[in-house]
Every structure is written in structure tokens, then in C-alpha cells.
Symmetry: C2
Subunit: 377 residues, 2 copies
């Protein structure tokens, strides 16, 4: 039985027969064309051996992100591992208080407790931290940014050139939802959103992806399933998101969607409810989103708005039943939107239903963080 | 590579390591205790070789349904196959115009076109047809029945003893949703429901279940996937429900939820919207349901109401993150409800979010039909 030991093998093994749509070319403001190792900032990747850490490298490469030097940082456990990147070999260094000397931009994805401990240390040394954890997202004064959605939130930091600062990358579900909802919200203010998610294994890290694959082998062979990451069978099953359930009955993942949307949209009044579910899919999330608007927005206008939105691709062919799927957006930058239709449960054109898919590791994490870093160049 | 050729093997292969909750004992009005082959009606099962047809037999047996004789009917292609049931061997007979002579109750699950052709023929011969297809569901004068929800819809047929009649079994998603929503609706009228489904392979039949399993083998082995039932990869993926998309942008499955709810609740005003998605799960559906009520209904009252509801089991343990999963309800009669919480996007106690799981083949199809038949005894 072949088991996977590295998330990059999942890409080839688990996306075998997928139809891969042609990615929309995106010559937008975030595309950096040069890759001069002499001219860019000095950067660091914290948590470089994790699923998102590896994707940071992949995205930095794909986007020709310019850097003068790059540090590969991780926990003591991973220190000493070798990483090859853009023709150079690096040794993963242990993350310490002194790691950030001379580092201008650090991309963090090593979990909330590492961010809480080392984020402020890095800022003190003058580093701008783009943090993928939830540690600082709701903290006043820390911008929570999706570059296509609220680039204006970065202005204070761009003005304070050379100073250290924290910038938070929103939660994957929030990014993917708002990539689709924001262009519509700009046209006809969203009053209320009801979101149900179909979340991939990758959100729980590379080990969860491996567990899903291992369990699937086990189930097909009639063996008992190995449950190390989740407390229940994941293969051929689904379950309520594994984050802690809060006193109000929502889990943390759901409340991120509720609260982060308010902060990103700078709108305390927007009403959001969410039900977050893990499904046996590898690395892209899907979301069913019901929207209530203040002003009418018909489905044709909505489709036109979404077709023009940067970072969004519309897949909405009713006649051939062709709509977004997680597999199609896997390893892709764009968030795909389809099933765009007038909500028959609301009066006139005050409601829409849409279905959104986005790569959790890429736009839901690494790509968005690198886009933020690009805004600092 | 072991491939499955019969859906019953899926039960043991694909539900291997599942936690199986203790089923709630149900000494309700539909429990029939005798199984006297001399005293019951003469019955027929139409489409006996399909996934639901096989489950009809399993449910008839489990519930000691009394019958004087039983006919196993299917298409010409399946005629001649042998079926063993309750210690007797039967040969599957080809369905013809003369199949219903002397048959008092026929359980149909052979697709809409077979129902449309042979349902009226059976009724003419005096047979009461309980039809699992969508052929007659919205037809005036045909009761659309979930026994726990609207038993009163059967009264006309029970009064017309001895006469042939059509009774429609609702769509699986509708049954599972309304099993949970109706007890709440009776307390504080539901004004609007926003439903997102997570639907299993079984809804597309035994061949779809086999395709999901075969594809999963193929993906794990890095081979191209076999797409015969669906036009896209199903393993480690999900997609918008494969039913036809109507001019209003909803697919047929979604409009069943919208329209059948109105008929079953006898409430033309209830607003429903739905997004129906197929997920790589074998035989039980899940549904995320957002409810808006006319009168306040707090979550504790809702939980108490659901705990007392027949055919419903509440699994709602926030501290251990234990909520319903499709695997847990597979091969079970009860519909499981959890994630019961006040909707933070609505004022006061006018909204609730719930998560529902139910076995698509059992309560979503065969069990509900047999329960209807029991009401005729």
C-alpha cells in the first residue's frame, strides 16, 4: 500500500483525472515580473515545512517575488531539514528570538501560539509580519486584508515605511467567501449572508491530508480506520468542523466568518451565519452562500460583476450542468463562482444564491499572504 | 483490486470503522409485530433489484411487515434473477400490464418513467401504489406523505378501502429535512428555510455507489478515473447535483425541496431555497438548514422538541464536538439532528441553525414508503 509522506505527492496522486480549466490570465497590480535577488527585500518563511509553508515557496516562485535573501524557519523538530528553492539549497533553521535580525518581511504559518510568541518579537526588530494564523486577526490596529477586497486597510502600514508591523491573513473560508461576495456587496450592500461550507482536509494541515488518504485505503481494504488527527472516520464521511464549539453553539471556524467579514468590510451591521463542515476532499473548499441585499441585484448583473472581478472566474453553465468543483480549483489562484441565481425564497431581486470554490492552501492562505507582501514592495 | 458488484457489500466495506450509536427504540404506531404470511395483504415490489428495491425487502423484514404473498418485479433485463427473502426463494418477474392482478399494495422504485407507465395500470387493477419516484408527487389528489409529518394526508385513501390509489413518497432530501424541521414548525411556524445539502452517492443508485468506490481505487492508484454515471470525478471531489437545471437556475433536486415542502406542510407561503451538492459519501445525506420563524423559538426549547420527536435522534454534544455524521446514520431508521443553535444573524430567537443527517436509502426512500404501507394495514 502506497502511503504519502509529503503533501506535494498528493497533488499528482489525488488530482489525477480532473478537468483543469484554463486559468484566467491576471495581469493585475499584484503581478511582479522581476526576480532580481539583489533588489528585493530580505524575507523569511516561518513554518516552512508545513503545507502552507511549502505553498508559500511555490507561490513566491510562481509570482517571481523579488527577494535579496530568504530564511527558512521552522520548529526545532524540523530544523536541519534541507529545502531546495529556485536553484539554491537551504537548511531549515530553528525559529528563535534572533531569527528576524535584518528580515524585512516574514510570512508566518506555524500556528497561533508561534505567531503570538514570535510575531511581536519580529515586529520589534522592524520586520513586517504577514501572519496566516488567527492570533492577531481581530486585534485593533492589525489590518486584516484580502488584497482584492480591502487594499485600503494596508495604507497605514505602507505609510510607516521601514517600521515593523503585523498584518493578518484572514481565515481561508472568509477569503474564499468574500472574494465572491465583495464585488456583489459593492454593488448592492449585503445585509445578511447564510453560509454553509464544504471544507477540505488541507485546512487541518498536511497530516490531515495524509490521514484522509490512509483512511480511504483502509476503508477500501475493510480495515479499521486510523484516527489520529480527527476523532472520527473522515473517509467517505463528513463532520462538523473540528474547531472548538463556543458557548453560543457556533464553532470557532464559523465565528471567524461572522467576525472577519465585519472587520474586512468595515461594516458592523452585516449579519452572517455559517455552518462549517469538513468533507473528504483534499485541498479546496466549497461554500454555498445565500445573500440578502439592501438594493435589488438581478442574477445577470451579478454574473457580469463577477466575470469582471479580479481573482474570480465564473463557471456557470446551466445547460451542461457545469459549475465549480473543488478539484477544478485545486492548485489554482482564482476563486470559482457558479450556480448564480435569484433566490426564490426572497422578494424580487433582493436575494441571490451562489456556490463558490477556492484552493484552501493557495488563495485561502499562501497566495493571499504573498499578495499582501507584494503590496509592501 | 476488489470491486463491488452488489450494494449490500458496501455496507460492510465502507462503514468499517464507524461509531454506531445505539438506535433509539421506537415502539411507535408504525411498528408491526406480527409476520403472518396468511393474514397480510398481497404485495409487490417494483424495481426489486435496485438499491431502494433491495432496501424495501430489508425494511419489510426488519419491521415484520405482514403479507400474504409478495411479487418481485423488475425490468425485462433483470427478470429471471433469483431473490431470497425470509426463507423463501423467488424469481424476479418481468413487470407487465398483468403484474398487478390481485396485488393490494405495490412499492415502486424503478424510476419516473416506469411509475408513469405502470402506476396508473396498477391503480386500475385496485392496487394501492406507494411510489418512490417523482412522477406523481406534485399531482393534485396524490398524497405526498411523511408518516411522522402529515399522516392526515392519507385519510382519503384509508377511507376508500379496497380502491386503487397513488401515494407518493417525497424526495429523500425533503423527507430528511422535514423530519427535523416539522416538529419546530409546529411550535413556531417556519417562514423561510435556507437549505444546503451534502448528498450521498446512493441517491443516484447502486451504480453510482460502485462508481464512487471504483474511482476512489483509481485515484489512489494514480489511474485515470472511470466516469460512467457522472460526467466528472466524484472521488475526493464534490459537485452541484446532477439533476437538470431549470430556467430559474435551480436544479430539479432543489425545486423538489421548495415545492414538496409546501405540499407536505399544506402551506403555500413557506419560503424555501436550496443548494444541492453531491459529496463523496456512500448512503446518507446531510443538510445544513437555516430556519426563520414567525414566533420566537429558543434553542433549548427546540432541542427538547426534537428529543421528543418520533423518528428523530438528537446528537448535539458541544463539549466533545459530537454531532451527526452520515456514517453514523447509515443503515439507521432515525434522522439525526445536531448543531442546534440560535442564528446570530437574526434578531432575538426568531432564527435557528441545525444540521441534519439521514440514511438516504432507508428513511429517505424505503423506510418511509413501508411506513406509508403500514398505515394502510
Amino acid at each position: 500500500m502506497a502511503t504519502l509522506t509529503h503533501p506535494t505527492r498528493l497533488k499528482t496522486t489525488l488530482f489525477g483525472g480532473a478537468r483543469i480549466p484554463t486559468p484566467k490570465s491576471r495581469p493585475g497590480p499584484f503581478r511582479v515580473r522581476m526576480s532580481l535577488q539583489e533588489s528585493g527585500p530580505s524575507i523569511a518563511v516561518v513554518g516552512v515545512t508545513g503545507a502552507v509553508g511549502q505553498e508559500f515557496l511555490s507561490v513566491l516562485h510562481d509570482r517571481d517575488f523579488p527577494y535579496r535573501s530568504i530564511k527558512m524557519l521552522a520548529s526545532k523538530r524540523s530544523a536541519g531539514q534541507k529545502v531546495s528553492f529556485e536553484g539554491q539549497n537551504y537548511v531549515v533553521e530553528e525559529l528563535t528570538r534572533d531569527s528576524f535580525d535584518g528580515v524585512e518581511i516574514a510570512l508566518f504559518s506555524a500556528g497561533g501560539s508561534i505567531s503570538k510568541e514570535f510575531g511581536p518579537i519580529a515586529v520589534e526588530r522592524g520586520t513586517i509580519v504577514v501572519d496566516n494564523s488567527s492570533a492577531f486577526r481581530m486585534q485593533d490596529g492589525v489590518p486584516l486584508v484580502v488584497p482584492e477586497v480591502n487594499p485600503e486597510a494596508m495604507e497605514g502600514i505602507k505609510a510607516g515605511k521601514g517600521k515593523g508591523a503585523l498584518i493578518a491573513n484572514p481565515n481561508c473560508s472568509t477569503i474564499i467567501c468574500l472574494m465572491a461576495a465583495t464585488p456583489l456587496h459593492r454593488h448592492s450592500k449585503v445585509k445578511r449572508m447564510v453560509v454553509s461550507t464544504y471544507q477540505a482536509a488541507s485546512g487541518a494541515g498536511a497530516a490531515a491530508m495524509r490521514e484522509l488518504e490512509l483512511q480511504t485505503h483502509e476503508v477500501l481494504e475493510g480495515k479499521p480506520v486510523t484516527c489520529e488527527i480527527f476523532q472520527r472516520q473522515y473517509a467517505f464521511n463528513l463532520f462538523s468542523h473540528n474547531s472548538a464549539v463556543l458557548p453560543n453553539g457556533y464553532n470557532e471556524e464559523e465565528m471567524k466568518l461572522v467576525k472577519e467579514t465585519r472587520k474586512i468590510w468595515n461594516d458592523k451591521d452585516v449579519k452572517v451565519t455559517a455552518t462549517c463542515i469538513r468533507v473528504p476532499v483534499m485541498r479546496a473548499h466549497a461554500e454555498s452562500v445565500n445573500l440578502e441585499f439592501e438594493k435589488p441585484l438581478d442574477e445577470d448583473t451579478a454574473r457580469d460583476i463577477l466575470k469582471k472581478a479580479p481573482g474570480v472566474v465564473v463557471i456557470d453553465d446551466r445547460s451542461s450542468n457545469n459549475f465549480p468543483t473543488p478539484l477544478e480549483v485545486s492548485n489554482k489562484d482564482d476563486v470559482a463562482v457558479g450556480r448564480i441565481r435569484r433566490d426564490v425564497s426572497q422578494e424580487g431581486n433582493y436575494g441571490l444564491d451562489i456556490f463558490v470554490c477556492g484552493d484552501q492552501i493557495r488563495k485561502g492562505a499562501a497566495l493571499n499572504a504573498v499578495q499582501i507582501a507584494e503590496m509592501l514592495l
